[in-house]
Symmetry: C2
Amino acid sequence: MTSPRRTRATVHDVAAQAGVSRGTVSRVLNGAGYVSADARARIEAAIAEVGYVRNTAARNLARSKTWAVGFVVHEPHQLFLEDPNIGSILLGTNEVVADADHQLVVLVVDSDRDAKRVSGYLRGGFVDGAVLVSARSDDTVADAIVEFGLPAAFVGHPAGRASVPHVRIDNRTAARQITERLLATGRRRVGMLASALDRDSGADRLEGFQQALGDRFDPRLVVDDPLYSYQSGVAGMAELLDREPALDGVFAASDAVAAGALETLRARGRRVPEDVGLVGFDDSAWATRSTPHLSTVRQPARDMGRAAARLVLDQLGGHEAHDVTLPTEIVWRDSA
Amino acid sequence: MTSPRRTRATVHDVAAQAGVSRGTVSRVLNGAGYVSADARARIEAAIAEVGYVRNTAARNLARSKTWAVGFVVHEPHQLFLEDPNIGSILLGTNEVVADADHQLVVLVVDSDRDAKRVSGYLRGGFVDGAVLVSARSDDTVADAIVEFGLPAAFVGHPAGRASVPHVRIDNRTAARQITERLLATGRRRVGMLASALDRDSGADRLEGFQQALGDRFDPRLVVDDPLYSYQSGVAGMAELLDREPALDGVFAASDAVAAGALETLRARGRRVPEDVGLVGFDDSAWATRSTPHLSTVRQPARDMGRAAARLVLDQLGGHEAHDVTLPTEIVWRDSA
DNA sequence: TTGTACGCGTTATCAG
DNA sequence: CTGATAACGCGTACAA
C-alpha cells in the first residue's frame, strides 16, 4: 500500500546529469535569459531522467513571495458546516484569488490550540496575505494578523480592528426593507427582538427597524439581548408577548433568534404566519430548517468573498484598501 | 486602512543586536544545547526589541519537514457546499492531524486551473502528506499525488489507484440492510435504480440489494445508469414503472438518484410512501431537501476523516498503511 | 551564452 | 558554552 518517495531530485542533480551549471538549469526552468538550444535539450532530458520537480517552497524563500493567501474560518464548533454563507464566501474568495494565480489555503480553527497553530502558520512565511471570516471580538487569530501586520481583510461583523479593511453589508437598509415588507402584509402591532446592540450589526438593524416604522415605532415593543442566539429568541418572544398580547408582527435580529421565537409562539398557541408574521436575518440554515420556513435577509456571500479577496490582493499590489459595503436581498418564504 | 509591514527581522538581526552569533540565537530559539544565562537573557531581550518572529517556511526548508498535511476537496461545481459529509470529514481529519501537531491546509479544486495549481502545491514541498476526498477516476490531482509518491490517503469512492490507501464504507452490507428494512415495510415488488456499475461503490450496492432480495430478486427490476445523478433518477424511475406498474418499493443508489425518482413518481401520480416506498444512499442534502424526507444510509463521515488522517500520519511515521472499511448507519425518515 | 558567487532565513555540525 | 561554516533548494546579479 505504501510507496515511499525516493529522495527528491534537485536542480543540482539536473545540472550534474546535463553537464551544465545550476545557473543554466535555473534559466531554462524560468524561461528567462538566453540559453543555447543544445543546452536546453540536454537539460530537459536530464529533468525527465532524474524526475525533477521544482521545490516551490524553496523558490518562494529565495524570492520572498509565496503566491498563497490564507482563508481562516474561525467558527466555534461546527458552524462552519451549518452556515451556508461560509461556503459561498470561500468559493468567491477562491475564485478571485485563483484568478490572480495565487493559491488559497483554508485554515480551520476549531480550538484554542488550532488558533495558536494557525496564527503561527500565518506568521510563518507561508502566505502573503489572509482573509478571515466572522472574527469575533476576542479572536486571537485576528489579533495575530493585526500585530504581525499581515495584509488581510475581514468579512462579517466588524471586530473593532480599524487597521484591517472589512467587507460588510448594509444592516440598516436591509433591516428597514424587510420590516417594510412585513408591514406591507398588513401587520399593525410589530415588535423587534434585537440583539448585540453593542455591535454595529445589532445597532444598525434596530435603527433600520425604527426607520421603517417611523411614527408607529414603539420602544416598548423592542426587547434586546446581547446574543444572537436561539435562547434569546425563546425568552425575548415571551417577554414581547407579555408586553403586547395583540402583537401580530416580529422582526428578529437573526434567523437563530427567529427560530427561538417560533418555539415560543407555538407554545403560546400563536400560528405563524396567520396570527403573527415573523421575519429573520442571515438566511442561515435556521431559515429553511424551521417550520414554516423563514422570510429573511440574504447576504451576498459569494460577492463578499470576492470583495475580501480583492482587498487582500490590492494590498499585495501596494494599493490602499478601503472597506466595502455590499447590498442585501430579501428572501420571502412562509413565515410572514 | 492599510498598515504595510516593515521588513521582517531575522535571526541575523537578533544576533547582531545581542552581540552573539546566529548559532547561539538558534539554540535558544529551539531550546536545544547549552547556552549561558547571560547570553540567553541578552538574546531574549534582542528578540523582543527587534520584533523577531520565526520564519517557519525557512525552518522547514532547513529541516526538510513541514508539519503540514493537505486536504484536497475535489468536487465538481459546488458540491462542496451541498454535501454535508465533506464538512464532517474535514473536521475529523483536522481533529487527528491537529492532535499530531500538524497543520491541515485545505485546498479546494473548482476548475482545471485549480487542479493544476493544487497539484503543484502538493509537489512543491509545502506539505508532508495529503488527504483527498472523493477523487474520481479522471482526477488529475490524484494522479499527481501518486506519481510524485506523496504519502496520502483517499476517502470515498475508490479511484483505482492501488498504491494509495483508501478509507471506504461497506457498500454491500449497507445496501443489503436498507433494502431489508424496506422489505420489512411489506413491499412486494421492489426495484433498484443502480448507478456506476463500473465502480466498486455502484457494483457493491447492487450486490447488497440482490442479497437482500434472495430468491425474490428479479433482474428485470434493475435499471442502471453510469451516473449518480438526479437526471438518471428521473429517467430510470420512468423506465422502471413502465416495466412494472405494480412496483411498490425502490432502492436508489444515491440520494440524488432518489430525488429524481421522486419527481417521476409524483408526475405519475404515485404517492410516497403510501403507494411506493423509496430509499436512497448517502444522507446528502437531497435527503432532507426532498419531500418527503428520504430514508437513506448515513456514512460515518467524521470517522472517515479521522481514519484518513491516521493513514497519512502512519506513512509519515514510516509505518505501513492499510485500507480501512467503516460501518454505516441507516437513517429512517418518511419516504418508506 | 554560460558559470560563479552570493542571498533567502534557518538549522546542524563542527572545532575551539 | 560559543562561533564559524556548511547545508536546505533555489534565484539572480555579475563577470567571463
